[in-house]
């Protein structure tokens, strides 16, 4: 249950953005990615989540241990909070959604359509999805956007519990969650030097 990334090079829109990225994320650890806008944090997370192939390098992780949460929460506005969460629980083969509802204080919103939630409430629901997946390694892209301080604390507590249970978290975020187990990886040194492609075909991939 370790995620190890070795000499990874990634591209965004055919342009090489990061190269030679290596790190190891073990159980019970959190790794926070930092770096200026456009450096490739989202691209790196999407590559690790398997949504796009790496240009070079290796990602080794046991199958079916990752779960990805991107900028969008993937909520259906006409389904209720409960229906949205149950759907993801079923997709991931899990049963009970009550602990996830409690962790993010969604109980009172249970029957409300997701389209009527505020931005912060939507994000809380999106994050609650992580708990119903039963996956060990969470790949999170800016998870705290539009959360208020109380919700951020709620989220930090969920992360602490998850790490305590032997999970791991890889996230790109700019705020400090106050996690003891968190390491920080600044991506600035890995910025690709020459934005030229070796292979013409890659421009179209």
């Amino acid at each position: 249950m370790t995620l190890s990334v070795h000499n990874l090079s990634i591209t965004r829109g055919g342009i090489r953005v990061l190269e030679q990225v290596s790190f190891v994320l073990a159980a019970g650890e959190a790794l926070v990615l930092r770096g200026p806008n456009g450096i490739g944090k989202t691209t790196l997370l999407r590559t690790i989540a398997g949504l796009q192939p790496p240009l070079d390098g290796e990602i080794s992780v046991a199958p079916d241990t990752l779960v990805y949460a991107g900028h969008a929460d993937g909520l259906k506005s006409t389904l209720t909070v409960e229906e949205n969460l149950s759907f993801w629980a079923q997709i991931f083969g899990q049963g009970d959604i009550a602990p996830a509802m409690d962790s993010f204080d969604l109980g009172a919103l249970r029957t409300r359509p997701a389209g009527l939630l505020s931005a912060g409430q939507k994000r809380r629901l999106g994050l609650a999805r992580l708990l119903v997946t039963g996956r060990a390694i969470w790949i999170l892209d800016e998870p705290t956007v539009s959360l208020d301080t109380r919700a951020v604390e709620m989220f930090a507590q969920v992360i602490r519990t998850h790490l305590g249970q032997g999970g791991a978290t890889l996230m790109a975020t700019h705020i400090d969650l106050g996690l003891d187990q968190a390491n920080t990886l600044d991506l600035t040194p890995f910025r690709a030097s020459a934005n030229q492609l070796d292979d013409f075909d890659e421009a179209f991939l």
Partner: protein, 218 residues
Amino acid sequence: MTALLLRDLRLAIRAGGGFGLGLAFFLIVVVLVPFGVGPQSELLSRIAAGTLWIGALLACLLSLDRIFALDWEDGSLDLLATAPLPMEAIAAVKALAHWLTTGLPLVFAAPVLAILLNLPPAGYGPLVLSLLLGTPALSMIGTFGAALTVGLKRGGLLLSLLVLPLYVPTLIFGAEAARRGMDGFDTTTPMLMLAGITCGTIALLPFAAAAVLRVNLR
């Protein structure tokens, strides 16, 4: 997979889900044809099978761009792609949900609308059977087209241009089967060809749709 199917069906019948739009469109097209060609019942019954097939095909086309576009916009397609479901299964389930909400209602509505077009009594059975065999292919081909255009702004028109030529074989054999049935001829050959096309698309296109989805999600 059942969860995904149930979710898609539930979304289709909730507000703004578009269930019934295709059916209403089908109704309007078929009602407009007699206004266009005039009230000669002989002429109408001659073009009835073809009109119903073209109406069904256009009605099917109407809701295709929603298959993946909505999931892509709200991010759930990314999340589904990283979920334990294979992409091929996602494409197949989406096509099935589309057929259940669009194709199947058309099959049931067709005999009712056929009365408006004065379809000869012998034609009802073959018409319904040909639609039942042919509409799954329309949904499956359309799902492939929707996968190709996912992520494109205003991809709906491009989707129609891509998908309509692919609908030609289904339309030819479907309308031919209905027409032969109407005229009292044997319909076995076109029915078998139609069923073959449908089976072929269901066997192959989920894989093609999954491949293009993977490329489009990069």
